[in-house]
């Protein structure tokens, strides 16, 4: 078994991503504008007038409410979903000459998403280092992609069941059963 596919997410995060020999640069259109991280410590007593309606404050409140209820799992589900899209793109381009496979560094992306960065996944998407280069410059290795896709799908379902557990707990508490 490939040692890179074992271990938990933390171990996987330590695998160095390196650019392959002749990388094709990602198109400039892929880069998203970086938004400043949301300000966190805003006391309600310091608010005045229209400040409450400021989009940054509304967003902070939404982020905090979500974190109280779902913890890390809400952000994890979003990152898993975006990683699934990246892996699906790799599989779709399995026979396109010159295509360079990409993958999301899950642990780093989740850490970024937790701090409220909107470009957390895009910033932590790296090119995959192929075990063997192909003659047409394509770095998609189907076995790797399929394994990663399956693993990601299982992790997505795990996150879903964590969320379901939280919702069931809250529902039970509300009903007072």
């Amino acid at each position: 078994m490939d040692p890179r596919l074992r271990g938990d997410d933390e171990e996987r995060a330590n695998i160095p991503f390196r650019l392959p020999g002749n990388p094709q640069p990602a198109p400039a259109s892929l880069c998203r504008p970086t938004l400043p991280p949301p300000a966190i410590a805003i006391k309600s007593s310091t608010w005045h007038g229209g400040c409450k309606d400021h989009p940054a404050i509304i967003r902070d409140q939404a982020v905090m409410a979500e974190n109280d209820l779902f913890g890390i799992h809400g952000a994890a589900l979003a990152v898993r979903s975006q990683r699934m899209a990246t892996l699906a793109s790799n599989i779709a381009n399995a026979s396109t000459p010159g295509y360079k496979a990409k993958d999301v560094d899950f642990a780093a992306a989740l850490k970024g998403a937790e701090t409220g960065r909107v470009d957390a996944v895009a910033a932590n998407t790296k090119y995959r280092l192929p075990t063997q280069m192909s003659m047409d410059g394509n770095t998609v290795e189907l076995a790797t992609e399929q394994t990663a896709f399956a693993e990601n799908a299982v992790a997505y379902q795990t996150t879903l069941s964590f969320l379901n557990g939280r919702i069931a707990t809250i529902t039970r508490a509300l009903k007072g059963e």
């Binding site: 892929l30 899209a85 699906a88 599989i91 010159g98």
Partner: protein, 136 residues
């Protein structure tokens, strides 16, 4: 298509149509294997699709398009066959240059890639359905 952000079904779906074009060219090539013509220009040449990655800036996804279909492969081979009704005045016919082995391998690979995309679509569908059932 460029107006809306791409989703996983479009990525897999368009990859499937690209593989289907590839499968069609393979079928055309195999159907014409062994055919002959009077002149080299009239002889059949194998056709191949050219795949090209299409990036979607909004979602960061990439799907695949068939840019064009080109003729590729070897030149038709001359064979002396005076009994053939298509033979020219020197008694030669030009045989279509279709590498059957290569075409069959291509067909297998394209079928596998198609299956992979179907699998991606099924997995994505079941995960989305599970997400919709969240909290029930």
């Amino acid at each position: 298509m460029a107006d809306n952000p791409m989703n996983i079904f479009q990525v897999a779906g368009r990859a499937m149509s690209a593989q289907l074009v590839r499968m069609n060219t393979t079928a055309s090539n195999l159907a014409n294997a062994g055919g002959v013509a009077t002149t080299p220009d009239a002889a059949y040449r194998s056709i191949k699709p050219v795949f090209r990655t299409q990036f979607d800036a909004a979602s960061g996804m990439a799907t695949v398009n068939v840019e064009r279909v080109v003729t590729a492969g070897e030149e038709p081979t001359k064979r002396y066959d005076p009994g053939n009704p298509l033979a020219d005045q020197d008694g030669n016919v030009w045989e279509n240059a279709v590498d059957e082995t290569r075409e069959l391998v291509d067909m297998l690979e394209s079928a596998r890639t198609y299956q992979n995309n179907v699998e991606v679509m099924q997995t994505a569908k079941s995960l989305i359905v599970d997400t919709l059932k969240l909290g029930r």
